[in-house]
């Protein structure tokens, strides 16, 4: 039985290949680019000077600069689903708000293995896709649900210092 892997939310990010990306909606009239993507049945550009109602799906910049960051030292309440198995200890995770070239800031968890000590305002991060939690599939096996995360970009030579 192969373990399957599905995005935790449909249509918000790509998962194929080595370079996953967030999917945004770019207004065909004013080029304002939104994330999360704008659903087909709510297709109104939010720029008050724009009447646009159609959008192109675009991949957002995979790298950005940290606007700010924090962590969750206590397990968040539902509907958050903890990644650890029943009875295992909760492991805190970091969160970052990241400025992209499209002029918007996108929140995300920080990649596994990195904490607030690895982050600074203005620091560069790159998008990765990792397991958020797992759940029972229809056939009874476990399947992963994945999410986008921000991973600090470490320059060559810095890695050894970590």
């Amino acid at each position: 039985m192969t373990r399957t892997s599905l995005p935790a939310v449909d249509g918000w990010f790509t998962t194929a290949g080595p370079a996953p990306a967030l999917l945004g909606s770019r207004c065909t009239a004013c080029a304002s680019t939104y994330f999360p993507p704008i659903p087909d049945d709510a297709g109104f550009c939010r720029n008050p000077a724009c009447d646009g109602e159609t959008f192109d799906e675009v991949e957002l910049s995979r790298r950005g600069r940290i606007w700010s960051y924090t962590d969750a030292q206590y397990q968040p309440p539902a509907p958050y689903i903890a990644p650890q198995a029943e009875g295992e200890v909760y492991v805190p995770f970091a969160l970052a708000a990241v400025e992209l070239a499209e002029g918007l800031v996108v929140l995300g968890q920080v990649a596994d293995g990195y904490g607030v000590d690895d982050l600074e305002v203005g620091g560069e991060v790159e998008l990765v896709v990792e397991r958020l939690y797992d759940e029972a599939a229809e056939d009874g096996s476990r399947q992963d649900r994945t999410i986008w995360r921000w991973k600090p970009v470490v320059e060559l030579g810095q890695e050894a210092d970590r």
Partner: protein, 397 residues
């Protein structure tokens, strides 16, 4: 007094705490206290506005009518307001507008809440179109995590320290010591704050406000009614700002997962929080230099420092300097949160913006006792809630 300004005839509160009672009990207590303070019989009130509470069933959704029934149906016209944390200010604005339009003379505004323990979580059910649900499911992003983002920026951009944040708590704890409506009336040392558990780095447990039960009520009336009542120099509502953001809102706002995009249209001149205060100043014809006292929304200690700058009470990045010099303490140049703020109250959402107005009313009347800001004649409130809601009320006397 200008006929374009309504008078605050009376204010009243139910003490904040965790009392385990129905929100209506608190609301009626506050309403009766405000009516008694005003010396106005309930029968004279011809408009009642309730602040909606989303956690107390159907009665909470129709709070105006719920309070009207509990006080005894008197035929008053009714409204219910909801604007997240700005609910109370929006309710005041609704009442004030009707008075200014000449459609009523005396309005009672009431907000009350009964809150659960712990983190505020979203409503039940799978709601894939609701950012307030999605931020928990996809990111585990709690309210304190948003507060922590703002706190961290103060540190990295302006050199704020955890000690500064702790000193905000120390100051507010001292302010609230003698406030009979405050829930926490105990001195706190900076070391206590720094020794409390980190919830969301860099914020400690004692940097973050609790959630509380509580109620506040305000009686507003026309200038003519105030004159008949014999109020020669009442506290007046000089402005109520309930502006929404201007696109693009480029500051990461709770409960959103992203900001508006600025690439196509450029960044705005003012942030949303700055625009809330600016609209109040403009409406009142009052400038930040005229303000004697401020009640701002310290959901976290660091957020109080943000608000001081957002309201133009000092330059951007200088709030820590003001704090360290004791200028925001009672007796300083611009005392902030003389009530003790959310640090001493905890948040009771639909009542909180009204509680700010109650405190400023007592301050401007010179009735604030041990926490009195001497000679205060102009006061400003500020708060921000979810989904583009925020408020600022300017009172003057």
């Amino acid at each position: 007094m200008s006929s374009q300004q309504v008078a605050v005839a009376g204010v009243g509160m139910h003490p904040w705490g965790k009392w385990g009672k129905n929100f209506v009990t608190y609301g009626v207590h506050a309403a009766r206290a405000a009516l008694a303070d005003a010396g106005i019989p309930w029968g004279d009130v011809d408009y009642i506005v309730g602040g909606e509470t989303v956690r107390n069933g159907y009665g909470g959704y129709v709070a105006g009518a719920t309070f009207a029934q509990a006080l005894g149906w008197n035929g008053a016209r009714v409204a219910t307001s909801y604007a997240a944390c700005a609910t109370g200010a929006q309710a005041i604005d609704t009442a004030r507008s009707r008075i200014l339009a000449g459609l009523c003379e005396v309005a009672l505004v009431v907000g009350a809440d009964t809150t659960p323990k712990g983190f505020l979580a979203p409503n039940a059910g799978e709601r894939w179109g609701d950012p307030d649900w999605l931020r928990f499911r996809l990111l585990g992003m709690t309210n304190p995590a948003y507060f922590a983002l703002y706190a961290r920026r103060r540190m990295d951009l302006y050199g704020a320290t955890s000690e500064d944040f702790a000193q905000v708590k120390v100051k507010n704890a001292k302010h609230g010591l003698s406030n009979p409506n405050a829930r926490y009336r105990k001195e706190v040392a900076a070391a206590d704050v720094l020794a409390s558990a980190v919830v969301c780095d860099p914020l400690h447990l004692l940097d973050i406000c609790a959630t509380s039960d509580g109620a506040a009520a305000v009686v507003l009336c026309s200038a003519e009614y105030a004159a008949r009542l014999g109020l020669a120099t009442p506290v007046r509502v000089a402005a109520v700002s309930t502006v929404t953001p201007t696109f693009p809102n480029t500051v990461m706002d709770m409960p959103m997962l992203s900001t508006d995009p600025s690439a196509a249209v450029g960044t705005p001149e003012h942030t949303f929080k700055e625009s809330i205060g600016l609209a109040a100043y403009e409406e009142a014809g009052i400038s930040p230099e005229d303000v004697d006292v401020a009640e701002v929304y310290d959901l976290s200690t660091a957020l109080e420092l943000d608000w001081i700058e957002d309201l133009g009470l000092c330059q951007r990045g200088e709030a820590e300097t003001l704090l360290r010099a004791g200028e925001t303490t009672i007796g300083g140049r611009i005392p902030v949160n003389p009530s003790g703020g959310l640090a001493c109250f905890g948040e009771a959402v639909p009542a909180q913006a009204l509680a700010q107005v109650c405190e400023l009313t007592w301050q401007l009347r010179g009735q604030a006792g041990e926490r009195q800001v001497e000679g205060a004649s102009v006061g400003i409130t500020a708060n921000q809630g979810l989904f583009g809601h925020g408020s600022s009320v300017l009172l003057s006397r």
